[in-house]
């Protein structure tokens, strides 16, 4: 475990040095994401100038959800998405060989090798936005809730990761897997909404069968609405189970890997 943390530090530093060589790229990436955030804030502002709450989410509760969703999305994108995104290309060209021949867990290496620092800086914007909304709600600080929030935040990233990773693993069987990225963003759109807008059946489906609600609604609920302990443990159990599932998918996929060109 320690070895992996140490390795990760090296990856991170390596990417930092690389990124410094392309400073403009960093700045543009950063502003692009900010513009996206601004777009959703305009949308938010327009809606809430007409209503006081949506599905029971008041103005600042929903703003908190946007902030958390943005922070989770950015963390995921800058640490894991950049790597998952390349996976289908690695499989198609046979470059995956390089990763398989290193003496560490191949799934770890393939998923964490690169860090996108432009996105990384944006995480703090999401956190800041959530912090601002939370401040506006003037709720009491509760260390237990904060700890649960942190755990569920990471849990949400894991579920995002498993979804994206599994979609990319399809490349083991489908050669042209280009739409997977687009699909990922369209599917996670389900996670970014307050679960209360869905009707009962859909909400149950998105909690238990396709647990998108766990990703962002759960951490947001624990801070600005309410989340019961059983829900909390359920959320974590789902995250861990899915993470385990991803290792199975990876192993089965590798069996069909043809290692083209070598």
């Amino acid at each position: 475990m320690l070895r992996y943390l140490r390795l990760y530090r090296v990856f991170f530093r390596n990417c930092l040095i690389r990124e410094m060589g392309f400073r403009w790229n960093f700045i543009i990436r950063f502003t692009t994401e900010i513009v996206w955030l601004a777009t959703s804030l305009i949308w938010f502002h327009v809606i809430y100038s007409y209503v006081r709450d949506v599905g029971g989410w008041t103005r600042y509760q929903y703003l908190f959800l946007i902030g958390v969703s943005y922070a989770i999305q950015q963390t995921f994108e800058s640490l894991l998405f950049v790597n998952c995104h390349r996976l289908s290309e690695l499989i198609r060209t046979g470059e995956l060989d390089f990763y398989l021949s290193r003496p560490i867990n191949s799934q770890f290496l393939v998923s964490t090798r690169f860090v996108d620092l432009g996105g990384f800086a944006n995480i703090f914007f999401g956190i800041g936005l959530a912090g601002f909304a939370w401040h506006k709600l003037s709720l009491p600080i509760h260390p237990g809730n904060l700890a649960m929030f942190v755990v569920l935040f990471l849990n949400g990233i894991i579920i995002y990761y498993v979804l994206m990773f599994s979609l990319m693993c399809l490349s083991f069987w489908i050669i042209r897997n280009e739409s997977a990225t687009g699909f990922f963003f369209q599917i996670t759109e389900l996670a970014r909404q307050p679960a209360e807008i869905y009707n009962y059946g859909i909400k149950v489906f998105l909690t238990f069968f396709f647990p998108m609600v766990v990703c962002i609604n759960f951490p947001a609920n624990v801070m600005v609405r309410s989340l019961s302990l059983p829900q909390f443990f359920y959320g974590i159990a789902v995250g861990l189970l899915l993470l385990y599932l991803s290792t199975l998918i990876w192993r089965v996929g590798l069996r069909s890997y043809s290692s083209a060109s070598s």
Binding site: I42, G55, S179, Q186, E189, E196
Partner: protein
């Protein structure tokens, strides 16, 4: 007529190429139902919260959800997503050379290729969307004036052309600046807001709405959707059509100007 013959070939090739991806398109249409579904659910919740003051910006609930459905349908044909990236890419790595030495005009070539591709796309994407419409029929306002539908079909090509010309101009920035693709995402955000694809422009304060309507972007989303919803009277429809014609001319001249200036600067990488 023989001047146009190469373009007929281009269209045919583009269609054959698009057909290779028919399953992909079908799947994309299927997954594309998710945002549509969320839109319906979202506005349902908003209108529940509105209680006894239902209409927002002149839109009832079903009109609002249909607004987004119609934009989604129209975009299947008129969307120029990634065209600007493609053009910038061709300019940057000298891919353009290939077309400059052929007896075709690249901007026209790209347009024919694009529109033929979109036509096939519509064919396959519409199947899952029709399924979605049947499932969500309780939330949908169907156009009740067939004249509006005819006007819409007549306007599809001009709408797509406006969208294309805008994307083409944006892509041509690559003549002057290197590595600006990330900037294009910013333009997408802006276009989503200014065209009314994010929300109907009538939700905005009046002065802002009027200002945005002076730009060409609304012609690609806000105009066709509000047309189908019967929000426009005869004079407004005529005004929009004339404005579309005028904008096509302006954008065309501007694009031609940029294209000529750009080619002079073009360094034809790779030769």
């Amino acid at each position: 007529m023989h001047l146009l013959r190469p373009y007929k070939q281009v269209a045919s090739v583009a269609m054959q190429e698009a057909l290779i991806y028919r399953w992909n398109m079908f799947l994309q249409g299927l997954v594309g139902l998710i945002p549509l579904f969320i839109t319906v659910m979202w506005w349902r919740a908003v209108y529940v919260a509105r209680g006894n003051a239902p209409a927002m910006g002149g839109y009832e609930r079903n009109e609002m959800t249909s607004y987004f459905l119609y934009i989604m349908l129209i975009h299947q044909f008129s969307s120029t997503f990634l065209i600007d990236f493609d053009i910038a890419w061709s300019i940057r790595n000298g891919h353009l050379n290939k077309y400059l030495i052929k007896p075709v005009e690249f901007p026209l070539y790209r347009w024919v290729y694009h529109i033929a591709n979109r036509a096939i796309n519509c064919l396959f994407v519409s199947l899952p969307i029709i399924m979605g419409i049947l499932l969500l029929r309780n939330y949908i306002y169907f156009p009740d004036n067939w004249r509006h539908v005819i006007v819409l079909f007549a306007m599809l090509l001009p709408i797509a052309l406006i969208s294309y010309l805008i994307s083409f101009c944006i892509g041509m920035i690559a003549f002057w600046m290197l590595e600006i693709s990330s900037l294009f995402w910013i333009f997408y955000s802006l276009r989503a807001i200014l065209s009314g694809a994010l929300f109907p422009l009538s939700l905005l304060p009046r002065p802002l709405e009027t200002a945005i309507c002076l730009l060409p972007f609304r012609l690609t989303s806000y105009f066709p959707a509000s047309l189908l919803l019967g929000k426009l009277n005869g004079w407004q429809i005529l005004g929009n059509i004339l404005s579309a014609v005028a904008w096509i001319m302006v954008l065309f001249l501007f694009a031609r100007f940029l294209w000529r200036r750009g080619l002079r600067r073009y360094d034809a990488a790779g030769i």
